[in-house]
């Protein structure tokens, strides 16, 4: 008898009808003799409605009370899911995060899981129950209700799978798995049978949107093999696991395009020690996550000066401008140029480590398509370039065609 943890997101449990579908899927696995732990999110729309209610009370509610409020969303779903299993004569018991033994730190709205004591989960499984656990939530060792922040339900599932030593963890979503590129952009994109944690991590950070990095990091750290698959059909999904030798034979696992980037260029920054440090310290202090940085020689006359360009998430652009304005007299640059019309195109693959000429091949593909490269950044298993946003989709197609057919 194996133990499977299944996680269903908000869309999969978005109505009583859909909850019944989830129950039917769970029952099918259970009838094969598997032990099942189900992790569910709040029904789609519920969390947003709760946030709206809170905002009607005050613009910036206390994070402790937001956790108290939002935790009700998943608690509603677990009760309804247990009922749906009962309706199929399947023994099932729901547990809040706290009841499932999920202990977190006290950082409300983005708590970190500290440990899991799944005594009650084990006892209920051994008594023949399907156990339904509220995703996204836990409690501190002092009994305060906490939530785990974005992607929290995936994290609950993967952490529970680790604590329970589950044989498999299935993340059900509304896509069939991880693809070589976004199928809406590249019609001949293929679903991947498997992908390594590191490749998945790079893709998660590059706008692939299937999962948050933290859940993948957690899975990697504890060696939890998980499958990303669809709750709408029975197709096998993509298995995410530790890198294997066979994975290296594939040079490029996938291509992604992140349209949510913005670029700032500071022109004529005086070329003296500490200028760059001052700038990026101030941005860091303002919690602005800077991604790529390029420094080039400035072509002006006069004292030695450089241009510094960097990228960040689009929503941070305004905040970044404010920080830079306040630094102008201190650092002494000429002007701030902002560009929101950029895209970050990336290729990811552990095979890059053992194959040379990958970057050149990518740049050639873009050149052939007449697409100009603005900035370049590389890691061991990733190459990213900043291009004009308008060329983004053509670029994805060209690069996908070159590497993945």
């Amino acid at each position: 008898m194996s133990l499977i943890v299944q996680k269903y997101g908000g869309t999969s449990v978005g109505s009583p009808e859909r909850i019944k579908n989830v129950a039917a899927r769970v029952a099918k696995y259970r009838q094969r003799g598997e032990q099942i732990v189900v992790v569910v999110s709040a029904m789609s729309g519920v969390t947003d409605n709760l946030i709206k209610l809170a905002r009607e009370i005050m613009p910036l509610p206390s994070e402790r009370e937001m956790d108290m409020l939002l935790a009700t969303g998943e608690q509603t779903t677990i009760a309804l899911t247990a009922m749906a299993l009962h309706a199929m004569d399947m023994p099932a018991v729901s547990l809040t995060g706290a009841q499932a033994g999920i202990v977190t730190d006290g950082v409300h709205t983005k708590a970190k899981i500290q440990n899991i004591t799944p005594k009650q989960v084990h006892a209920l499984l051994d008594a023949g129950n399907v156990v339904i656990v509220a995703g996204f939530q836990g409690q501190t060792s002092e009994g305060q209700i906490t939530t785990l922040g974005r992607g929290g339900s995936d994290l609950t599932a993967i952490a529970l799978a680790a604590a329970l030593k589950a044989d498999l963890c299935q993340i059900y979503t509304d896509v069939d798995g991880v693809h070589t590129a976004d199928p809406r952009l590249v019609p001949n994109a293929r679903k991947l049978e498997e992908i390594s944690y590191d490749e998945m991590l790079e893709l998660a950070g590059l706008g692939a949107k299937v999962m948050q990095s933290r859940s993948v990091e957690f899975a990697k750290k504890f060696g939890v093999v998980f499958e990303v698959r669809s709750s709408l059909n029975d197709n096998p999904g993509t298995i995410v696991k530790e890198e294997t030798q066979s994975m290296e034979s594939v040079v490029i696992r996938g291509v992604s395009l992140d349209k949510n980037q913005a670029k700032i260029t500071l022109t004529a920054v005086p070329d003296k020690p500490g200028a760059a440090a001052r700038i990026f310290r101030a941005l860091g202090d303002a919690n602005i996550n800077v991604d790529m940085i390029v420094q080039t020689a400035s072509h002006g006359s006069g004292a030695p000066a450089t241009d510094i360009s960097f990228t960040m998430d689009k929503p941070d652009l305004l905040k970044a401008r404010k920080v830079l304005d306040s630094l102008k007299s201190e650092v002494g640059y000429r002007e701030v140029l902002a560009d929101e019309k950029i895209g970050k195109l990336s290729i990811v693959g552990v095979g890059m480590r053992s194959h040379s000429g990958v970057a050149a091949k990518m740049f050639e593909a873009l050149a052939h398509a007449g697409i100009n490269i603005d900035m370049i950044s590389t890691s061991e298993i990733k190459i990213s370039v900043i291009i004009d946003l308008a060329s983004g989709e053509d670029a994805v197609k060209a690069v996908h065609h070159t590497f993945l057919g």
Copy 2:
């Protein structure tokens, strides 16, 4: 510095706007230097919506899962109420029933409070917070979430007031207090300044609807003085407390009319030992709460036989008929006559004990109004009569006029 427990029902917290009003009232007391514990219900409509969701999943959901589901209603309100106090710069912390230390037995959907360990409530009060507690809910000593059933939030407030040794417990509702009669029926009905637990208990059992009997019983048992008052104005309400000598000088505290009664008459029941016992045992086993019972001589010929009439809550009528049908051959009565068009008119007052002629005065008042009396039942501090439903409102007016002006 005194400690006040305030309870606000679902209508009083029915929208963000109303929750802000509650917060304003709480803040006013707090600013006087009082320590405040606020008990809130689910926002009006929320519990019904959750029940509807559950019914879409299955007709008769498990009671454990219903508790898991319904407990989210009050949890939502406590978070929003705490936020509303924060918006007024008032320190406030919300607690679920479990966090407030409310320990119940394991009878889901109608759990009984076993004990309260309000350590956390005390600590938060001492740190200067208003403490907001979710009404209607608790947890078992094994950590299962339970709810207390109808009127549960009142019970939470009164039990907390007892455990905290509060100086006052205020039950906020949408009426100004307890009246000598329903003001919609009797325009010159007066609000009572005070009423004894026993009188309140009789009124609660007689359709007065202000509060459930169990909360009043709990208050009586633990000597919790409480005030029933309106959340819509600042009028003083009605104080409910132990009987005092001065209360006895008032013969009648109030008049009530319960329109939710039905009567069954069994005709020609053979007059042999055990017949009545057999009938009422069977009704009791079916959980039908029989109220008044009258047995009269039957005017038929033949073997000795009697008519037996009894009353019950209207929703139980159908179930009672089924029980009686199944007994027909065994007990041997002639027919079952059912009457839903009855009303139970009652007068209540501890002064009855020391005043004679009260019943006669009530019957005369009804006779003058041309109203026929069908059945009579009395207790030490109550006289109830069954009358024709159509005469109910005239009867209330006539009796109120005679005793209370």
